[in-house]
Amino acid sequence: MSDQIKQAIQEYATRLGDDSVVLGHRISEWVSYGPFLEEDIAYGNVSLDYIGRARMFYTYAAELADDGRDEDDFAYMRNDREYRNLLLMELPKGDFAYSQVRQLFADVYYTLMLPELLQSKDETLSAIAAKAIKETKYHLRRSRDWVLRLGDGTEESHKRTQKALDQLWGYTHELFDMDETEQLLADAGIGVDVSRLRDSWLKMVSDILTEATLTVPEDSWAVRGGRVGYHTENLGHMLTEMQIVHRSHPGCKW
């Protein structure tokens, strides 16, 4: 493996780890705040899956970095400007409709992206994808069901869900952006060319939204920047909370 490729994989694994830890953290904020007990359990479950993914991606990134860092150094010792997650993942949990719409976007994305990652020539990335695919299948079943029920439920649930769609749509374009690092890996058969997934994503999401009697928003705006550390104002607050205990006791084991 050339140094250039190795470095690119480390960056890639870090990005995917960041996506997972940030979304996993947001989902965990629902525990004990769900509309009923079964949902508290489901949120905990989904969050746990994402934290598990983050640990696998970070552990791999740390192994490639080979500089004595571990998964927690990646999660807890980097600042918001160093985080490389997609902006969609870091947005606050909002109301139940907002979280479920975000989840639907992410779940459809992973449904398309993970089978591609499974084909990666990199065995570790492929193995992580294999585990994550099973989880995502269950996640999508849940978020799809919820968006159907909320969209085609009451007037209020419909209104809230449509509003969430309109507020979140502009953050979805970034999901399909490629930069040099990702292109290098895609060309080498290691990373996923996400730019090719947008049409299928749009088709799957549109079908679900239409069945839910919701309107697919226009592509009239797009916000980008997560992959270069240009975040929304929310991430700094999230990391402040997430990292406070770890950073207050430097070098400690937990």
């Binding site: 965990s28 904020e29 509309p35 007990l37 508290d40 640990r55 970070y58 209020e156 770890h246």
Partner: protein
Amino acid sequence: MTTSQEENFMRKISAEEKIEPKDWMPDAYRKNLIRQISQHAHSEVIGMQPEGNWLTRAPSLRRKAILLSKIQDEAGHGLYLYSACETLGISRSEMIEQLQSGAAKYSSIFNYPTLTWADVGAIGWLVDGAAIVNQVSLQRTSYGPYSRGMIRICKEESFHQRQGYEAMLALAKGSEGQKAMAQDALDRFYWPALMMFGPHDSESAHSQKSMEWKIKRETNDDLRQKFVDQTVKQIEVLGLEHPDKNITWNDERGHYDSSDLNWDEFWSVINGNGHCNRQRIEHHLAAHEEGEWVRDAITAYNEKKRAKKAQHAA
């Protein structure tokens, strides 16, 4: 009620046979069980709050994952205890109403605030530890669904206790700051954990009848003594100071003697005036009320689906 029904019921109780949902049972037995099982279910549910308070600040990804998984288990326990209780003829929504109105109680331990990360370890070790002592004994309770629920719950609770103790051990063997955090958590949670066993047997309103009906199998004071005894060694291994300066081995009794508890505090928290009583119920209510439009949406959606199906069939 005929004599033969009651005799038959008591015969089963003495023969250690389980009472099942469809069996005849005295009203007071049913009422007593509903009180105890629903209180237990509510405790699992409210218990998500003090632990959830640290989910977003867990100091490592591994600890975060363990805590998520533990809270998920607790919520699951809440679910099957609600189901066990429903077999006695009360609905989950009625139980939740009773929780929110204050008519039903939950374990007072959750009215103490979790102030540092070490409190998460202390809860796993001491609170779940105390709960297990009680629940192991309840595996032999006379009501079938409750007994079976307890057997399942005990398996998971012992994992919770181990993870809590292991988290405390990491702190106690860590830096000065971590060790101080562990000692502080032990000092704060030790006494309320002992109070989890309830008032002295002589003061316990429900104890006598519950023992006769074998809903409860051991008395509050006996269970508390077991917990006191097992905890001494655990504190030693951690290298922390015992919060009870009067703890001494009594050769004659074969148990540790210990200080009496602050019963004024116990009754004050039970009566709703602890640190977090209002906050816990307020939190539960707020989530419940905010979730109303979601629950309404499901009902409306299901209605529409049913109507469509009926239309197709017609």
